[in-house]
């Protein structure tokens, strides 16, 4: 009896170890696989030129990824600039000012929004955001556009990210103990001063990690952005021009045009790049969190 218990104890330990190793190894396999698959392209062009060149002419063997990287970054930055303040203010309002009944109504709504499939956000973008840009917003700046633009991508992405980041930031504010706010108030601070200097300050690491996860998610988001961003290979500073983000490149082209030499290798390299950039974003935000967690 005892022996049986000891054996099952040991076995459960082994299983946990195996699952853990699998979790750790799978990403490594993915990175290694993508890297190996893109080596033919490395042999053809060096890495720096691949990521900095804007010439995308697969037929001539020119694979410049800069338009895709820039497109992704641009869409992500616009999305973040729109979503971050909204999330922060909404979370402050819901956790600090609103009655708890409001929170009870909002939380499930936010959860539902966060769970909607991205294609729905894409359709919403096509129906609302794209026409709004082409008919109202762009004409206001004297610009003529179809509406399928970087900016449309940014707006759709922002709306998609808001519930996701808001959820996390609300969570962060809710972990700040009441006693901390009371301490600040009892020292003579106003309610808003206490929120600004104490609640938000204490939440920095959490807010930053929510932002980091939001940006990483936004950078890799494919479907919704692809549907509204125009998908043309160019590097333009004007957000009312079309762009072509990296994930869209892979999703649009994989399985087609693979007869072109090195094309599949280039798409693999695109995926590899995407992975690396998202890892980088994670690292950068981890560093910020580390820097702010001191207090």
């Amino acid at each position: 009896m005892l022996l049986k218990r000891i054996i099952s104890d040991k076995l459960s330990g082994v299983w946990m170890l195996i699952s853990l190793t699998a979790i750790l190894l799978i990403p490594l396999f993915i990175i290694a696989g993508l890297y190996l698959k893109s080596t033919p392209l490395f042999n053809h062009q060096d890495f720096l030129r691949l990521i900095s060149s804007s010439e995308w002419q697969p037929h001539k063997g020119n694979f410049g990824f800069w338009p895709f990287i820039a497109g992704s970054l641009y869409v992500t930055i616009i999305a973040f600039a729109l979503a971050a303040p909204v999330c922060l203010l909404a979370a402050i309002y819901l956790t600090q000012f609103a009655r708890s009944a409001m929170m009870r109504i909002m939380l499930p709504v936010i959860d539902i929004l966060a769970g909607l499939p991205s294609v729905i956000y894409g359709v919403w973008g096509i129906l609302i955001v794209v026409p709004f840009i082409s008919k109202i917003l762009a004409p206001a700046f004297n610009i003529n556009t179809s509406g399928y633009t970087i900016f449309a991508g940014g707006v759709v992405l922002a709306v998609m990210c808001i519930p996701y980041m808001l959820n996390m930031i609300i969570e962060v504010f809710n972990t700040i103990p009441m006693g901390l706010k009371e301490a600040s108030l009892s020292l003579g601070a106003t309610f808003w001063e206490s929120i600004k200097h104490v609640v938000i300050r204490k939440s920095y690491p959490g807010i930053i990690s929510a932002f980091g996860l939001g940006i990483a998610k936004a950078f890799g988001e494919t479907m919704a952005v692809m549907m509204v961003v125009g998908n043309s290979v160019q590097v333009k500073f004007n957000p009312f021009e079309a762009g072509y983000p990296l994930p869209a490149l892979i999703a649009n082209n994989y399985g087609e045009m693979l007869s072109i030499p090195l094309y599949d290798s280039a798409l693999m390299f695109g995926a590899f790049l995407l992975l690396i950039i998202i890892l980088l974003i994670n690292l950068i935000f981890r560093y910020f969190i580390y820097r702010t967690r001191v207090h």
Binding site: S100, K181, E182, L185, S186, G188, E193, K202, V294, H295
Partner: protein, 269 residues
């Protein structure tokens, strides 16, 4: 130092020697939560420059009573407070004075320390700056003064810029006391201030209270009977939202009048 700051300091000195014997007076205080009544018709007077101990089993409303005095009950929208609370003759529940200045008359010490998310130095200077004092030298002087007052100066003088959370719990609690004293309150509200501390740190806090009562009125919530016996000049026994008995520790502990207090004294010992 600016002249208005000097005159401010002088005014505070004059105010604090005004000969008001009962610094806090509470009449018919009721606190209602959504569904039930937490405090029921509380009537209390709290003597100046003494340690008043609020004693009672947990859940009887001690914390709520303390928070009402500081208007921290405002934070909880579900709470409704009625009655009068006079702090130095100001009815704080009906006054037009601004709430931050009322709260600065009281230093709050919580059940566990809540250091602000900033450095040790800034934890103290935070409240001083909120009083409108900007003079760097005056602030530095006060920081040192109050850290000394709680016996923390020697321990932290070389690490003032480190986060307050790097201190031990006992040190954090003394820091919280110091930052409360730095806004020059008349009253110290302490809600079971030693319940999270080790015996040695608790002893330090208790000794501080003994010496602080010379200048401050201390209202100490505790459910530790022995602590009440050690420190109290005046005892208020609460039970289930009501004040059951109040008076000198001698009377209450030796000749309790009510059955509730008798039972509490027996079980507490």
């Amino acid at each position: 130092m600016h002249t208005n700051e000097i005159s401010m300091l002088i005014n505070e000195q004059i105010e604090s020697i005004s000969t008001n014997h009962n610094i806090v007076k509470i009449n018919n205080l009721n606190v209602y939560a959504d569904s039930h009544q937490i405090l029921k018709n509380i009537n209390l007077t709290i003597p100046k420059n003494k340690i008043t101990v609020l004693l009672g089993p947990s859940g009887c409303g001690k914390t709520t009573l303390l928070k009402s005095m500081n208007k921290l009950t405002d934070l909880y929208k579900e709470l409704k407070v009625t009655g009068n609370i006079f702090i130095e003759d100001d009815d704080i529940l009906h006054t037009t004075k601004n709430v931050p200045s009322i709260r600065q008359k009281m230093g709050l010490l919580g059940q566990r320390p809540f250091p602000l998310p900033m450095s040790i130095y800034k934890n103290i200077s935070y409240g001083i700056k909120l009083k409108g004092i900007r003079d760097k030298k005056l602030i530095a002087f006060s920081v040192e003064k109050y850290l000394k007052e709680v016996g923390l100066w020697e321990e932290v003088k070389n690490r003032l810029n480190q986060p307050a959370t790097s201190l031990s719990i006992g040190q954090q609690q003394r820091l919280c006391l110091a930052r409360g004293l730095a806004v020059k309150p008349r009253i110290i509200l302490a809600d079971e201030p030693t319940s999270a501390l080790d015996p040695i740190s608790s002893k330090i806090i208790e000794n501080l209270f003994r010496s602080l009562k010379e200048h401050y009125t201390i209202i100490l919530v505790t459910h530790v009977l022995r602590q009440a016996v050690r420190l109290a000049d005046h005892v208020v026994f609460m039970y289930n939202g009501e004040v059951i008995e109040q008076g000198s520790p001698n009377t209450l502990f030796n000749t309790p009048k009510t059955q509730k207090l008798k039972e509490y004294l027996v079980d507490g010992n």
